[in-house]
Each structure stands twice: as structure tokens, then as C-alpha cells.
């Protein structure tokens, strides 16, 4: 546990010692603001809810989360520090967990900085704050799932751009299999049972549950298994370097 913390601490430090963290935070907040108030028509809806805010997260994270995580292993490989890290008396798991958790915590910071929308909606009306809490939990888990996939693609290459593109494609796939326009297309030839099975693999299906104010064990399990599987695969990739 201690080694995980030491690695996470260094990783956190490297976010904030460069402009990356600040640029990321500013862009993230600008985009969430734009999507919520302009594209999401927050005011025109006349609802005391954050549906307009959370609804965009699967798409917003699609680029932003891989951008925050693409560096994790690709940079270690490019600069050769991976050799230093892997010859330290730690297990690969400790390194993987430390890096993942630091990055996830960074995304949590970004998410926490969106608190003004919660304040706004509470000032304007009386929303169901329980639903907002589950919404945030779902959003945090979604970010974790994308991030774990980015860890995997980042471990595969020494080029951050390649890692970024691969993870965007993989995450896009996870959105599209449950995206209504895509599932509607499938109804022409597939049985409803098949469509449901395919859609069950989508992040959107499981993310929506949280937006309705429910914490379903199946949704939790889904996000945990995506994270677990992607990190496990990261370990396999790193071992076969």
C-alpha cells in the first residue's frame, strides 16, 4: 500500500508541476459550462435537475479523460524511466494502481470543481440532491472506466498520440453499442434480446441508471469490472514489454 501511495504522490506532483493540470482543468470547466448551459439548454428546460449537465459527460470524457491519462505509461516508455520503475522493489500491480489512482483522483478534482452548477440549481429551484449525488458517483465511475482503458492503451505504446487515439476509439465503441440511434438501427434485423445484450456492454446504459438516482449493483459491478479488466490487461502488456 505504501508503494502505491509513493507512486501516486509522484504522479499527482507531475500533473501539477507542469501546465498540463491547469490547462486541463480550465478546458474541462469551460466545456462543461458550455455543454450544460448552451448546448444542454439548462435554463430553457425549466427543470431543477442536472440532467443537462450529466447527460453530456460520456461524450465530454471521450476526449478529455484519454488526454489526461495518455501520458501515464507512454511517457515512462519514451523517456526510459519505466526501466527504473520496474527494477525498484515493487510489484507491477503497485505501479499500475498508483498511477491509475493518482489520475483518477485528479479527475475527481476536476469533477469537484463543477460545484457551481450544483449551487446554481439549488439557488434557482429545489432539486433532488440525492439524484445529484448518484449522478456525480456515476460520472466518477465513468471517468474511471475510460481512464483504465487509457492506461491500457498507454502501456502499449511509447507515443502519447497513439495512446490517445486508441483509447478514444475504444471508449467511443463502448458508448455507441448502447447509443439510441445505433440500437434503433439494429432493431431492423436483430432480436430485442440481442440488442439488450449488446447494449449491456455500453457505458451509457449503466451511466443512465445513476442519472435516475438509483445505485444499482449491476451498474457498479459493470464499471468495476471494466476498470479491473483494463488494469489487468495493462499488467499483461507491461509484463510482455
Amino acid at each position: 500500500m505504501k508503494s502505491v501511495w509513493i507512486i501516486a504522490k509522484r504522479e499527482m506532483g507531475s500533473y501539477f508541476s507542469s501546465p498540463v493540470a491547469y490547462v486541463f482543468l480550465v478546458i474541462f470547466l469551460l466545456l462543461t459550462g458550455f455543454f450544460t448551459f448552451t448546448a444542454g439548454q439548462f435554463f430553457e428546460r425549466g427543470e431543477a435537475s442536472l440532467g443537462a449537465f450529466f447527460g453530456w459527460h460520456p461524450w465530454l470524457y471521450l476526449v478529455l479523460v484519454p488526454a489526461a491519462g495518455m501520458r501515464l505509461w507512454a511517457e515512462e516508455r519514451r523517456s526510459g524511466t519505466i526501466e527504473l520503475l520496474m527494477t525498484m522493489p515493487i510489484t507491477p500491480w503497485q505501479a499500475i494502481a498508483g498511477k491509475f489512482l493518482a489520475s483518477w483522483a485528479f479527475l475527481a478534482v476536476a469533477l469537484a470543481l463543477t460545484f457551481p452548477v450544483v449551487v446554481t440549481v439549488n439557488v434557482l429551484g429545489s432539486p433532488d440532491n440525492g439524484m445529484i449525488v448518484t449522478g456525480y458517483l456515476g460520472s466518477f465511475l465513468l471517468a474511471g472506466a475510460y481512464l483504465a482503458i487509457t492506461c491500457l492503451t498507454s502501456a502499449m505504446t511509447r507515443n502519447q498520440v497513439v495512446a490517445l487515439i486508441l483509447s478514444v476509439v475504444a471508449c467511443l465503441f463502448l458508448i455507441l453499442v448502447g447509443f439510441n440511434p445505433v440500437t434503433d438501427l439494429m432493431t431492423r434485423w436483430a432480436s430485442p434480446a440481442l440488442i439488450d445484450t449488446v447494449a449491456a456492454f455500453s457505458v451509457v446504459t449503466h451511466f443512465d441508471g445513476f442519472q435516475k438516482g438509483a445505485i444499482d449493483t449491476r451498474d457498479l459491478l459493470y464499471f468495476m469490472s471494466v476498470i479491473g479488466f483494463a488494469l489487468f490487461a495493462t499488467n499483461v502488456v507491461l509484463r510482455n514489454r
Partner: protein, 237 residues
């Protein structure tokens, strides 16, 4: 301290290391010589547990590197080729990070950093970020990292690469002194370093040991011996 038994490493169809065996005891400084691409770095990476061997065994201090990697890695200080270090950290921060991963904390950590900084002459750049350092300083920062936990085994991949003549001299003296109490393996293609620092030299070529012994046993002049035993990559095979 280091026991290597018929070590093999294959990358696809290429055999980078082809059945190397040798042992290094405490109090020995072994110079690892060979032309570029002869398998020096690959062998060192297998000793430090970075690469898993395709066949054969490596043990450090009695611990098999594959079966009990953590115990073996604790005994080793390693300077990788090109002396990689986290560019965004300061020298102080980087050494503290390495010391913590080595299980040092509190006063022990502080003393370890102080000792390594003194040994590698880093006090003037302690608070400088690593990407602003010259090559020699970066190299010494990485060397300090290898020495930080006062390891019993030192694996140094081209420790004098990129240093100026004064620094080279200092590092050789340092290696010779460390070798009195530790098992040291360092690779080089500067033959005068063999005389300056080694108790024994091992010459490898195309993944095999072609000669080993004290510099005197290998014969003189060393560079002629080296040229006779190894294949130049400028010669067509």
C-alpha cells in the same frame, strides 16, 4: 553475490544473449566489455529483473530474480543505459522518491540522500529540475539513485558515458572504492577503464562470453585482445 547460469534471451528470432554464465563475488569489480549490440545491456536488464530470461537462471544474493524478484531487487542498485530520470522532478525530489520506494523514511531517508548527493557531487544542483541539467549532471543524478540505499550489488550500464574527463576519473575512483565492499558489474567500451577500475573483465561478443580474467590474464595491449576476440560490426559476416 551474483550467479548467472546459461542465460538466454531471445527477441523473436534473434538471440541477443546466448548462454552466458558467470559469477561475481563481493569485493569484485567486473568490467563487462563488448562491441555495440553484443548483449551487454540485455544481460544487465535480466540481472536487474527488467527482462525475464528466455532460459537460464539469475540469482542475486541467493534470491532467484524471477521467483523472488522483490528480495533480489532490494539488494541491487541499477544505473540504466542513458541514465533515465523523471525530467519534471528536481534532483532532491527524484532522490527522495527513489529512497521512499526503497523503503527509506525519516532521518534514514535524509541521511541516504545526503550521502548519495555528496558521493556524486550534486549539492549545487539539488533544487534544479532534472530537464535543465547537463548530461553529466543528469548521469550523476541517476547514479546517485543507484547508490541511495547502499546496495550490496551494483549494476552500472555505461556509468562514465557522457562525463567529462574529470568526472570520469571521479566515477572510476568511486567504483573502485565501492567495489571493496560490494559486488559491482559495469559495462563500458572504454578499455582503459578496465585497468583503472576492474578486478576482472568479461568480454562478450554476439551474446557469448569469449574471454574472462584479470586485465593481466587477458593479455596486452587490451585493445588488440579486444579486436581479436570480437567481431566488428563494420565487417561483413
Amino acid at each position: 553475490m551474483i550467479n548467472i547460469d546459461s542465460l538466454v534471451k531471445e527477441f523473436g528470432a534473434k538471440r541477443a544473449v546466448d548462454g552466458i554464465s558467470f559469477t561475481v563475488e563481493r569485493g569484485e569489480v567486473v568490467g563487462f566489455l563488448g562491441p555495440n549490440g553484443s548483449g551487454k545491456s540485455t544481460t544487465m536488464r535480466m540481472i536487474t529483473g527488467y527482462y525475464a530470461p528466455s532460459a537460464g537462471k539469475v540469482s542475486v544474493g541467493g534470491h532467484d530474480v524471477v521467483e523472488s524478484p522483490l528480495e533480489a531487487k532490494r539488494l541491487i542498485g541499477y544505473l540504466p543505459e542513458n541514465a533515465a530520470a523523471y525530467a519534471d522532478m528536481t534532483v532532491q525530489g527524484f532522490l527522495a522518491f527513489c529512497a521512499e520506494l526503497r523503503g527509506l523514511a525519516g532521518t534514514a531517508k535524509k541521511q541516504a540522500i545526503g550521502r548519495a548527493v555528496e558521493r556524486c557531487f550534486l549539492s549545487s544542483v539539488l533544487h534544479q529540475s532534472i530537464d535543465t541539467l547537463s548530461k553529466g549532471y543528469r548521469h550523476r543524478t541517476c547514479l546517485a539513485q543507484a547508490l541511495i540505499h547502499d546496495p550490496e550489488v551494483l549494476i552500472l550500464d555505461e556509468p562514465t558515458d557522457g562525463l567529462d574527463p574529470n568526472q570520469k576519473h571521479e566515477v572510476r575512483n568511486l567504483i573502485r572504492e565501492l567495489g571493496k565492499t560490494k559486488a559491482v558489474v559495469f559495462s563500458t567500451h572504454i578499455l582503459e577503464e578496465v585497468d583503472a577500475a576492474c578486478t576482472r573483465a568479461i568480454i562478450i561478443d554476439r551474446g557469448r562470453v569469449v574471454a574472462q580474467g584479470t586485465p593481466d590474464e587477458l593479455g596486452r595491449p587490451l585493445d588488440e585482445v579486444f579486436r581479436r576476440l570480437t567481431t566488428a560490426d563494420t565487417v561483413k559476416r
